[in-house]
Symmetry: C2
Subunit: 216 residues, 2 copies
DNA sequence: CCAACATTCAAACACCCGTTTGAATCGTTT
DNA sequence: AAACGATTCAAACGGGTGTTTGAATGTTGG
């Protein structure tokens, strides 16, 4: 979580765990297999809980579409539960998970899609029903943005803390982050379509047309 | 961009550049100084162009507040210009930049805040004037989300391509990404406040209250 | 109690890292 | 042409990496 996959050595890990270096290769086989195990143990139950939560909500809706807020609750509430339970990983695992989404290591690029495939399919279906006026392609993009903002925020990037002009209260509390993020994302998901007549937004031709040659 | 800072060796870089290994230490001093130079050369002009673009728009607005779309144009248009100019870095630099935001290397955590400080201050001011009804704290968070989603999307994370249920057209074209992202973010920035009064937006008791013990 | 297996451990292995060195080469100037 | 600083280059340096090894130590079942 702190240094990234490549820069974190097994010697650091085994020293912190007060365990012999060879133990990880004996019990897991390799560094790759170790990190894979971590995500299977922590992310597996989290994503199962998300799907279970969605199941409950859809059962309660009696076949009708859910609201965006309900769908996001099914994503977010299980994560908050993890963050509140130090034995199940706690807030530290959520930060690790956030970072994992932009981890360049090959192992991670295999692990995450495998772990999220089911979640993505189920939530996509729910979103399609909740937002019938948004085309499929567009919705996929918006889900992409949603996962991006969520993972990025949970990662709690230290670089961006320094960017903030005022002290952000609760940067380290997932609950505070999510309370702010959910309305933001819900509004984004519901955004009017760019080319759908009524909203002029930014004319596509105009974007990038103002000269940027004033660069110092 | 492909492997992250730690996993990319100077031997890979110098081999690709068909240059002697010692050249980077001779001309730059260290690996850290090399990557710092890359960002000063590419990100410096980009952020200067963003500020210049914002200046022009504010000049045209005659002291009145800008629209969200205009503000986002000032952020996005210079980036698109970079992406269209291979000599100035091209789309590859935008992807590198996106990744840099979640790069755990120490050097990066110094470089980015330094490069973005001015940009953040100016755009924050513009947003405060465009959205007077949003409290300062909330707006800082939303800017945070905005930068997060922007960097994440530009990074073009391969992991998430596999998550997509349908083929995303234009994943590799910054223009296509941004055309989709801007309305999403604009709507997010304008989102109604979770609670008209003060703090506790979503009642904490409700979110996450559905039992998650069904976890498999 | 002892054989048989499972685990721990210190040491070594082969390899890659960023950086340094000192000689060879290049370009320019006197 | 000679001298001199700037650059290139192959080689080496010290150190860190993931992984393997083989002996020592636990732990369990007959």
């Amino acid at each position: 979580m702190e240094l990234g996959y490549a820069a974190t050595s097994l010697r650091m890990i085994t020293a912190k765990a007060e365990v012999n270096l060879a133990a990880v290769n004996y019990h897991f086989g390799s560094k790759d297999a170790l990190i894979r195990e971590v995500f299977e143990r922590r992310l597996g139950p989290l994503n199962s809980a998300r799907i279970a939560h969605l199941d409950e909500l859809e059962l309660g809706a009696c076949g009708g579409p859910l609201t965006i807020e309900q769908i996001m609750e099914a994503i977010v509430a299980p994560a908050l539960q993890v963050s509140r339970n130090p034995l199940g990983g706690g807030a530290v695992f959520l930060r690790l998970l956030g970072r994992a989404f932009s981890e360049p290591a090959d192992s991670m690029r295999e692990i995450l899609p495998a772990q999220y495939r089911q979640v993505v399919v189920r939530f996509k279906e729910a979103l399609v029903r909740a937002l019938p006026e948004i085309p499929d392609q567009e919705l996929t993009w918006r889900m992409h943005f949603m996962f991006g903002a969520l993972s990025y925020s949970l990662a709690g990037n230290d670089a961006l803390k320094l960017i903030a002009t005022c002290n952000l209260e609760g940067v380290d509390e997932p609950e505070a982050i999510i309370r702010r993020l959910v309305p933001f994302l819900a509004a984004g998901l519901r955004a009017p379509l760019p080319h759908a007549g009524h909203q002029h937004g930014v004319p596509p031709r105009k974007i990038g047309s103002v000269s940027g040659r004033r660069v110092a």
